[in-house]
Subunit: 231 residues, 2 copies
C-alpha cells in the first residue's frame, strides 16, 4: 500500500524565493498545496509565474482574492511611485514604501485556514532575513511568533497537533537560495521579482527587489534568465 | 485646540457582542474605525446590522470581501446543515461544524493591516469565552498569542509602539454583556446572531448562536427585541 504523503501548504508568490521553497518541500516528499493571492498588487504578472511554478509538482494551486489595497499604505497596492535606485548600496535600511502592512500576517492566516481544512500541519513561506528589504514580517521573530499563535488558534492545536511555520530560506543569502534552487531544478526564468515590470514582462532592474535579485545572481556567478529593460 | 482622539479598529459583525464592544469603545472616547467582512457567510444579513450599528458613532465602516468559503470546512460558509437543538443543554462542548477555520486569525490580521495604515494601536474584538460555542479562536490564550505576534509583525511594533488586542467581553456572561450594552444605549433590535435566519430576517431560535442569545436575554430578565420564527 502506498504510504500517504504528509501535506504541506506552500505560499507561492511567483518570485524566486517561494519557487525555491516549493522545490525544497517537494524534495522532502510532501504533498504540496500551493497558495497565492491576488491582493491588488500592481505587478500581477507574479500570478502567472506562480501558476507556472505550481505545475512543477503541486497537487493543487489556489489563488485567493484579497483586498489589501482598500487600506492603501503601500506603493505595491496604491497609486504611489515604486522607488528606484542605481545601485544596491542606495538601499538605506529604512522600511520602504513597498511594504504592504501586515501582508505576511494576512497571507499566513489564510494558509492556516486552509491547513485546518486540509488537516495539514506544515506551512512553508519563503521569507528571507539576510538579503531582504527590511520588512518587519520577514524576520525570524515574526515567524516564530506566528507559529506560537497558530497553535491556540486552531482545532488542530487544541487537539494536540503541532502546527509548524517553516521558513527554510530565513538564514540564506540570495546567492545561496539561487544555487540551492538550481540544484533542485528550479526554472528561474519562470519567476519574477520586479515591483514595477513593463507590460511585456521585463523587469525594471532598479527597484529594491530587482537590485537584490541581480546581486544574488551576480554573487552566484550565474546570469539571471529573466529579461530586463536594459538587456 | 481640540485634543486628537485615540483611534481604534473595532471588528463589527452585526451581532450582539460586537455591537456592545463598539458602544464600550465609543464610551471610552476612541475614534472608531469599524471593520466587517463579507466572507461567504450564509447569514449575510449580519452586514446590514453591522452597517446600522456603525451609524451609532463610528467615523467610518469598511466591509472587506474575503474568500474563506473557497476552503470550505464550515457549515457557515459551505453547503452543510446548521445544527439545531431544542434546548441549550444539548450543546455538547465539542467544537461544532459552524466553526470557520482560523476565522478570527484572518479577521484580526486584516484589522492589524488597517491599524498599521491608520496608525491605530488598539484593536477591539467581541469574543467571549464563557457563553460561547467552544471555538478555539475565542479563548483568552488565542487573543494573548495574537497580540504577542502583532508586535513583531508590524512597523508600529518595530518602532516601539505597543499594539493591543482588546477583548473586553472575554470574561462576561451573555446576560452581563446585554445588561452592559443596554446601559450604554445599544439597540439590540439592530443586531442579529442567528446562523440560519429566514429570508425576511427572523432568527431560527434553535442554532447554537440563537440558544446562547436567548439564554442571555432570559438570564438578564429582558425580552430579546429581535423577531424569531416561533414568535
Amino acid at each position: 500500500m502506498a504510504q500517504t504523503k504528509k501535506k504541506a501548504v506552500v505560499l507561492l508568490s511567483g518570485g524566486l524565493d517561494s519557487a525555491t521553497v516549493m522545490a525544497m518541500v517537494l524534495a522532502e516528499g510532501y504533498e504540496v498545496h500551493a497558495l497565492s493571492f491576488r491582493y491588488g498588487q500592481r505587478h500581477a504578472m507574479e500570478l502567472d509565474c506562480a501558476s507556472e511554478q505550481s505545475n512543477a509538482g503541486a497537487v493543487e494551486h489556489r489563488v485567493v482574492d484579497i483586498d489589501l489595497s482598500s487600506f492603501g499604505g503601500s506603493a505595491l497596492t496604491a497609486d504611489l511611485e515604486v522607488p528606484k535606485h542605481d545601485h544596491i548600496d542606495e538601499l538605506d535600511g529604512q522600511i520602504p514604501i513597498t511594504y504592504v502592512p501586515a501582508r505576511n500576517t494576512v497571507f499566513l492566516s489564510y494558509a492556516l485556514a486552509w491547513a485546518e481544512v486540509l488537516e495539514a500541519f506544515d506551512i512553508f513561506i519563503g521569507v528571507n532575513a539576510l538579503d531582504y528589504s527590511g520588512y518587519p514580517d520577514c524576520r525570524p521573530e515574526f515567524i516564530q511568533a506566528f507559529e506560537t499563535m497558530a497553535n491556540p488558534a486552531t482545532v488542530a492545536g487544541v487537539q494536540g497537533h503541532k502546527l509548524t511555520i517553516h521558513a527554510p530560506l530565513i538564514d540564506l543569502t540570495k546567492a545561496e537560495i539561487i544555487q540551492h534552487g538550481l540544484s533542485l531544478g528550479v526554472d528561474y526564468a519562470k519567476t519574477t521579482s520586479c515591483y514595477d515590470p513593463t507590460l511585456d514582462g521585463r523587469s525594471c532592474g532598479h527597484c529594491d527587489s530587482c537590485l537584490l535579485r541581480l546581486k544574488g545572481f551576480k554573487d552566484a556567478g550565474i546570469k539571471d534568465p529573466r529579461p530586463y529593460v536594459e538587456d
